[in-house]
Symmetry: C2
Subunit: 454 residues, 2 copies
């Protein structure tokens, strides 16, 4: 026992040289993206005001592999390859015959997987001569990652942070400022969109939808000086995240096992796609059968309770129309603590995989996720982000099912971030001040009546 | 460049099997520890009310190596070996010919090196049949580590947290509670010592000295049910931390270099000793010449401005008398942000090394340490704890000296913890609200008049 290894490390020469683009392998291609005004298919030029052409080309690329630039790999070396560990102590705590592994993206300097895409996004913008990036952030993981990435490449960075998060998580804002970015509580008086909201409600707590509007406005009206960056949902973002799964494939090999089931949380879909897409490639090509399980919050269940329809990506209806599993762009999730999962829609790639039966989905209520987080922390030491706790809760369900059936089941979790900036949520849980915050079905049904008519 | 490795990982089979006890190799043995009342040498039995006999025996052991129990190595596997990285981007930012390496202890689940000793301390107490441990914490790194360690071994844990820290750092308290420990703001009404302080000053913000008194009282009056644990200063604590240096020796080998200078912060001395003692062993035995540089805060400079004399370890004069570099046990450091370095004295081992000319020391003011922390964060991504920033500031001085003289100098830093729970200090720095908080020399001179007469 004493010389048994529970961590499976790759040398830095094994940092992937290419991202995997699943669009090349999808049995049925992704649905067309439509212009919000004309409802006609949009082309690369429609996106050019917001994104550099390299990223737009990745968005629509059908190439199976996309080379990772040397400059990006150099930055990846600050924390990649991330560790894969066998959760021996968690297995023991659950008394399960399952073997549980977790890929730990929380060791990234930004604290989550978000830096995997922030770095290439900053790189391609720098290469295109852009002077700075604008973005929004809710929980703060994405704002932190983009501020770091912009700092690495000498870009300015403007983060619109949902006001209620800005006030509740001052340390997140401090972290973002440490890397030289400017953080503005949203709604703000620095944009037309923000001023409009404040005129209606000077005390508006803000929302991700409003913050997106502010960030997009600053980029779109800058005459090309600034562009906009998004932390999830888009195809190129999911593609960048495949470094997680490519490494995990090699690490499971080192461990001498292959996952029967992969479990990861889904908000916009990027960490889930990051770990699972390379395994889905194997499922499609080599006939290996790994179940791929997306875990979403029961309070915002876009896959399990939404419909697969064209909808806007933002609340105000400014973005292109994308076919997605959606709760309706006007749906406002209750204030549960996994802020990174409070999104009405889902990445197109994840939705198409779900619709084609290539992945499963499960919704888990808030209290079960915090109970799972505590079980994990006490066994493995790491305090997971509330978002990551959804993956853990799903994995614990799998491990207990394996115990029930007496079968060995190899489970792989994507532990996408640590919870060091989420301790107020843990305090609320420990003090018994949390509940499941689930809406009755009527609320979901009402929100779906606002879908655009295509 | 693209395939150059900047991280040097060891497999888990290379987690040390033994701690290194430098008492076996000291040219002159450590000074005798004296009873606070009788001033006579104390023996193991005098310490038995507070510590289990295994730890007391390690405290006085002259054996060069002490076996690490399997149960402790199993827990070490949750995060060890910790990574060693070459700070290529920091070197570039400083434009120095120096090669800078850092050993990163912040990836431990508690966020610092403290867990290296918390785990064996909990283990030996469990083995001795103790039911729980009491301790104090200031900045919170130690309280977090001990709460995790007690959780791993099923021990109760009672943490007395300095009240002002408890109020300023609610997330630290939340983290400690997450692992099942009970956190009490000190001074409290749960102890005789605490009640005495509160009677004098109901609004007392507390101090490390008061919190120690409360924690010791609970253990000492529990009839053996509870014992007490200390996070630094004692010989056995420093010995446990040598896993850092033993790993670093092998990792520098992987990197194909050997340090010309090792730089680490010193408060009580444990992270400094942890990385440097194994290299000092080489200095003593093999004639290798690595300079070993302790960096202390200019606002609490026990090595550079204190005297080497017998003094109490605590403020109230209850502990045994130890010969140490001290500013006087009544010295109250100003409220600078590296709470873990706000200690009037220093570990006996570190003091003796300093007195024997085997290590150097340097005091660095607060603003320089935060400037260094920002330079490091922007280059390498990691936001260091304010304590760790002292080591970085010292290393940057070394790197700039190497640039000045045009020499290649191999520098090894112990990056002992991350700053995720210290972002309020960064906010204060970014807002221009910090200063150096150094006392005039008269304050130090006055404090030294209160040394006990031996």
């Amino acid at each position: 026992m004493s010389d048994e290894t529970v961590r499976f490390d790759l040398p830095q020469t094994d940092i992937p040289h290419q991202w995997y683009n699943i669009q090349a392998d999808l049995p049925r291609p992704l649905p067309t993206v439509l212009h919000p005004g004309t409802h006609q298919p949009i082309g690369p030029d429609d996106l050019a005001p917001l994104f550099p052409m390299d990223l737009i080309m990745q968005e629509v690329s059908q190439d199976r592999y996309i080379d990772i630039p040397d400059e990006v790999r150099e930055i990846y070396k600050l924390w990649r390859p991330t560790p894969l560990l066998r959760a021996r102590r968690l297995e023991k705590a659950l008394d399960t015959p399952a073997h549980i592994y977790y890929k730990y993206e929380g060791i990234s300097p930004s604290g989550s997987h978000k830096l995997n895409t922030a770095v290439p996004q900053a790189y391609y913008n720098k290469k295109a001569g852009v002077q700075g990036l604008t973005t929004e952030t809710g929980a703060g993981q994405w704002g932190t990652a983009l501020s770091q990435a912009c700092n690495f490449f000498g870009l300015e960075c403007f983060v619109y942070m949902v006001k209620v998060s800005y006030q509740q998580k001052p340390y997140r804002a401090a972290m973002i400022r440490t890397f030289g970015a400017q953080v503005t509580a949203s709604p703000s008086d620095t944009t037309h969109a923000g001023r409009g909201i404040l005129a209606q409600d000077p005390n508006s707590p803000g929302s991700l939808g409003i913050a997106i509007s502010e960030a997009v406005e600053v980029a779109a009206t800058s005459g090309g000086k600034y562009k906009y960056a998004l932390g999830s949902v888009l195809n190129h973002v999911l593609t960048h995240q495949t470094v997680i799964g490519e490494e995990a494939l090699k690490q499971m090999d080192l461990a001498g096992e292959y996952p029967d089931v992969i479990v990861a949380p889904t908000g916009g879909g990027s960490n889930f796609a990051g770990i699972s897409l390379p395994f889905i490639r194997h499922n499609l090509k080599d006939g290996k059968r790994t179940r791929i399980l997306a875990v979403e919050p029961a309070a915002c269940p876009s896959l399990t309770k939404g419909v697969y329809a064209y909808d806007f990506g933002d609340t105000s209806g400014m973005t292109p129309l994308v076919k997605m599993h959606t709760l309706g762009h006007t749906f406002v999730p209750p204030p549960f603590h996994a802020g990174g999962l409070r999104y009405h829609g889902m990445a197109s790639i994840v939705c198409e995989l779900y619709d084609q039966g290539l992945i499963e989905a499960q919704a888990i209520p808030q209290l079960e996720t915090f109970a799972a987080a505590l079980t994990f922390a006490k066994a493995e030491g790491i305090v997971p982000a509330p978002e990551a706790a959804h993956g853990i809760a799903g994995a614990i369900r799998e491990a207990l099912a394996a115990k029930e059936s007496g079968e060995k089941r190899v489970i792989l979790i994507n532990l996408c971030g640590h919870g060091h900036f989420d301790m107020s949520a843990y305090t609320a849980y420990l003090d018994g001040n949390l509940n499941d915050l689930e809406y009755p079905d009527e609320v979901f049904q009402e929100a779906l009546t606002h879908l655009p008519q295509i």
